[in-house]
């Protein structure tokens, strides 16, 4: 296998390492076709990040779509059966409308899905793999963890109208305590219940501070059950050495229609948006008339393009200017030597618009250094 760090980009390197990681935990590769029947996506439009899909008609008149998502196909191809869990990973291009440019974009995505009769072990395993995936990309990462079961239980206890519930979720997502307070006050929510939901937007500090403050506020059976699951998950992550990089944060992925349990979002220092997102999405499976549970996450590898820890700041290590007065055999020998040292471009004039570390000249079999940077 090619392991030369000099030429492998950070996103390519991540793909190799992630595949290796996932297969070591028994996940099999899931390969899908570039297009799927449009019907699958249109029925689950709300699940997709953007509802615009590239469609075309095939020769039989069927409407097909360039896949905007991988999870839906994986669910469709899995089966429900007791004590059975299917573990799959993928590395695929998906086609979505970019939120910033409003044009279609090809996005390289890697991720995994764990579908079936899940136990707490599988949930912990997937969250651990998410943390490990981020750690492979950079040592400066944060994995935010929330629990949709907990958020829903608190919402249920407060009994907000549908419209207000939607708004409250948006404010949670924005860590927006001022508007959340105003909303709860306008709905006449009692102080004790108000504080509970507000605490999700305002609690800061270490994860153990957040959890101990929050734990004291939990009252209903559902709240306590979800809170306990979240707490044990943090204990497991800490015991596995991820305590410093994981945080309880309830602004993560507040989509109550799909997520039912743990929800995660991962960040890498230097990349302005989240590079990893996922969670337990039993509600999507129920919507698709399925009995199983499922948890998974995706990593947006296209975001790693601008993030390169190994970027040296030049395109070529050495440029070797050739005067045409050296015999080709000697030239190939020098080229061989310099390519082994770090790379060489043999040319007759200095290449325009390219940066190099060293500029050399070869004339009548003699090499001289003209310029050296860094």
């Amino acid at each position: 296998m090619l392991t030369n760090d000099k030429i492998i980009r950070s996103d390519e390197k991540a793909i190799f390492e992630l595949r290796d990681l996932y297969s070591r935990y028994g996940y099999n590769r899931y390969k899908m076709s570039r297009f799927e029947e449009y019907d699958l996506y249109v029925r689950n439009k709300d699940f997709l990040v953007s509802d615009e899909v590239i469609t075309f008609t095939d020769r039989n008149g069927r409407l097909l779509a360039l896949k905007p998502d991988v999870t839906l196909s994986i669910i469709k191809n899995s089966t429900d059966s007791e004590k059975h869990v299917e573990k799959l990973y993928y590395n695929e291009n998906v086609y979505r409308v970019s939120q910033s440019t409003h044009n279609f974009k090809e996005i390289m995505q890697a991720g995994l899905e764990c579908i079936g009769d899940l136990s707490f072990y599988e949930i912990a395993e997937v969250v651990l793999l998410a943390a490990k995936s981020l750690a492979l990309i950079s040592k400066n990462y944060v994995l935010d963890i929330s629990h949709m079961g907990l958020v829903s239980a608190i919402m249920e206890d407060i009994n907000l109208s549908d419209q207000s519930r939607k708004e409250a979720l948006i404010y949670l997502n924005q860590k927006n305590p001022h508007q959340l307070t105003a909303l709860l006050e306008s709905e006449g929510v009692a102080d004790i219940k108000k504080d509970k939901l507000l605490s999700l937007a305002t609690l800061t500090g270490t994860t153990s501070d957040i959890l101990s403050n929050l734990g004291a506020l939990m009252t209903t059976e559902k709240e306590i059950a979800a809170f306990e699951e979240l707490s044990s998950l943090f204990d497991i992550l800490a015991a596995n050495g991820f305590g410093d990089n994981v945080r309880a944060d309830f602004s993560v992925g507040n989509n109550m229609r799909y997520y039912s349990g743990v929800v995660i979002n991962g960040y890498i220092e230097g990349i302005p948006e989240s590079v990893l997102s996922g969670g337990q999405y039993d509600r999507l499976l129920r919507k698709m008339k399925r009995d199983s549970s499922a948890i998974g996450f995706a990593i947006y590898l296209d975001l790693l393009e601008r993030y390169d820890e190994n970027d040296k700041g030049y395109d070529i290590d050495t440029v070797l200017l050739n005067n045409d007065d050296t015999d080709v055999l000697t030239l190939t020998e020098f080229a061989e030597k310099l390519s082994a040292e770090g790379g060489v471009l043999v040319c007759r004039e200095v290449p325009k618009g390219k940066r190099y570390r060293r500029l050399m000249k070869i004339s009548e079999g003699m090499v001289t250094v003209l310029e050296e940077n860094g």
């Binding site: 924005q174 001022h178 890498i268 989240s274």
Partner: protein
């Protein structure tokens, strides 16, 4: 170092004074100059002036860790950022205005002139009202006078401009003020610094009440 995007102009100056009162001053910004970037390494802040409508973009894309943007911009562009604090500055409202003698007839599509097509669209779709949006970039007030639109959706501060153009507010859509926003990733990696600034500003707010 926390990068702070401030909105250029009158509001921005008020906002900077707020940061200063909270203990995050930067004397170079107070001297008259054409510079756009100012730094106080001691306090760990770097301020820069940008067009008010661009603040959210700088923050969403991580060029600034935090910034101050009007709620109008946040509602119009829905940037994926945290909204940490309502600074209660630059208070105004987003409103529907029309000519004083305007009579709304639900039997016709309502023609709406605005700089904020997304806000207008959302507001009317929540009322299931069919509208025709006319996106303008300025002088919105003359649209109903010239018959270009039936109503306008725009920011109303004192209402003087409306009055002078023989328009009046029909309905308030949402109150507007300046908000402290943060980049989601920056918030994770400069958490303590950003929280210190947020708390400092919140204290100032409390005191000014």
């Amino acid at each position: 170092m926390v990068n702070v995007a401030l909105p250029k102009g009158r509001l921005g100056e008020k906002v900077y004074n707020f940061f200063k009162a909270a203990g995050f001053e930067c004397t170079s910004i107070e001297e008259p100059s054409r510079k756009l970037i100012f730094e106080n390494p001691e306090k760990g802040v770097r301020y820069f002036w940008v067009k008010p409508s661009d603040v959210a973009i700088y923050v969403e894309r991580g060029a600034a860790d935090i910034g101050v943007a009007g709620k109008d911009i946040l509602l119009e562009y829905s940037p994926d950022v945290y909204e940490l604090l309502d600074l209660n500055l630059g208070k105004c409202r987003m409103a529907v205005a029309a000519k004083a003698d305007f009579r709304d007839s639900a039997s016709k599509t309502l023609r709406v002139a605005t700089k904020f097509p997304n806000i207008a669209e959302k507001f009317y779709s929540s009322k299931s009202r069919d509208i025709d949006i006319i996106k303008l970039n300025g002088s919105i007030e003359i649209a109903p006078i010239l018959g270009l639109s039936d109503v306008i959706v725009d920011i109303v501060e004192t209402g003087t401009t409306l009055k002078e153009n023989d328009l009046e507010v029909v309905e308030t859509i949402v109150p507007i003020s300046a908000r402290l926003i943060a980049n989601k990733s920056g918030y994770k990696f400069k958490n303590e610094e950003i929280l210190a600034i947020t708390e400092g500003l919140a204290k100032q707010l409390e005191m000014s009440k």
